[in-house]
Subunit: 234 residues, 2 copies
DNA sequence: TTGACTTTATGAACATCGTTCAGTACGATA
DNA sequence: TATCGTACTGAACGATGTTCATAAAGTCAA
């Protein structure tokens, strides 16, 4: 940090604001590292304070809550998520490839930011009784879901799966992807199959589902029974 | 409860053992209700004790931990789930139909026992760092997963998808199914597509994935790229 | 430089948490 | 009736998230 000896009044208050932002960032970084290493629940505010050599009470000058700390971290990392997905899908040769790359980017991101992923997607939103509704409209989550919707829409428009309902497909895709990501994080000790093989298998299944989707939009709901009849009795 | 006035010595100790089991059950029921209503983290041992009108310390005569309490509840849930699935799949005409019915039974169970489902599958297992591993081998959870594995194995053996790796497929199926179930429960306010349509869409996708699986076991990992090439450039 | 005012940081405290343990009450046995 | 073992409890411990009065430091007009 620079040592400024003679300030104009305005420069002084500027520097104070800058310093405040800096301390705030310092807290976030420390908290982020500890949460990632040992999990949100088992990291105390006192330990975060100790790491940055402040008193525990100081943290409450910068953040409302311990939860607020994590939420701010989530905002940060999910801005990164969108950035990451867009970077991975930018130069895809076609819509389906873009969709696939985006999904892989999502899974990778979740697995490398497990704590933030759990808080945003896995934990039930109601913390206490009478907790304020956190709005979905305009959230980073919505932005993220729209990313998936538009990627699937592009595939449909490109003729990959002309008959699908984009919203339904986006929901089930998200469900599958989230299912794998969250289970791998939460049930870490489960005797999973090989991780990459599972991701590949899921991607293959999702794509196969797209390609096998009904060619006309009308009769989507009967398809399972049709497939089943074809297979089991033919 | 019967009032027994004259016991033989053996009958007396029997009754005491029975009473102990009864209290144990009482604790589990109370804990289950509270966990379901307000979540594991925000229910204290003291509140559970208060509900059954015992002292907090009494609970530790029956359970090692607060976490142990949760684990016992999960065992119960698994047992119910297995029973439900087996009832639904018992008279299936063929393996694929059995698999499909089992999966639907799983989702239905989750959606109609949302709180138990969350406690068992969604909430991260409560262990500190360096806590002893709770063994998966021999647990009811393993039994449950084997149920899915064997259903998928039966499909493979029946020629539905000869080339698949059963374990990998079981894992990804569970991930997808769990993803949908848990998201529908946890993010209740999310603007989902029609619920039944989503379930149908997921089932269709999973079955399509099975049918499109590689016919030989060797080259599973390349299938996504193959499918994609076929679609986007043809 | 002084003195008033604002911002930043802290130590002590509060309520609550999971958990333990010495000690009590009580039914079963002899 | 006396003894023994089990079931149970009250009080306490250390740790948690959070608050608040207070102190220190910084800012700025005079």
């Amino acid at each position: 940090m620079n040592i400024v000896q003679y300030d104009t009044p305005m420069a002084a208050s500027d520097r104070r604001a800058r310093h405040k932002q800096q301390v705030r960032r310092e807290i976030l970084v420390a908290a982020g590292e500890l949460f990632a290493q040992e999990g949100y629940e088992s990291v105390s505010v006192r330990r975060i304070a100790e790491k940055i050599e402040y008193s525990p009470a100081a943290i409450y000058l910068y953040f409302k809550d311990k939860a607020d700390l994590l939420n701010q971290l989530c905002e940060d990392t999910f801005a990164q998520l969108i950035e990451h997905i867009e970077a991975c899908t930018a130069d895809a040769p076609d819509p389906l490839e873009g969709l696939i790359r985006g999904v892989r980017a999502y899974i990778d991101f979740g697995l490398s930011h497990p704590d933030q992923y759990i808080v945003t997607f896995v934990s039930p939103p109601q913390h206490q009784h009478g907790a304020p509704d956190i709005p979905f409209e305009g959230s980073v989550g919505q932005q993220c879901f729209r990313c998936l919707e538009s990627a699937i829409g592009d595939c449909r428009d490109a003729g990959v799966a002309p008959g699908i309902d984009v919203k339904t497909t986006a929901c089930t895709w998200w469900a599958s992807i989230h299912g794998l990501t969250s289970l791998l994080i939460v049930h870490e000790r489960f005797p999973w199959a090989d991780r990459n093989q599972m991701i590949d298998s899921l991607m293959q299944t999702l794509v196969a589902g797209l390609l096998a989707a009904p060619r006309s939009a009308a009769d989507g709901s009967q398809t399972v029974e049709e497939s089943e009849r074809q297979t089991s009795r033919g």
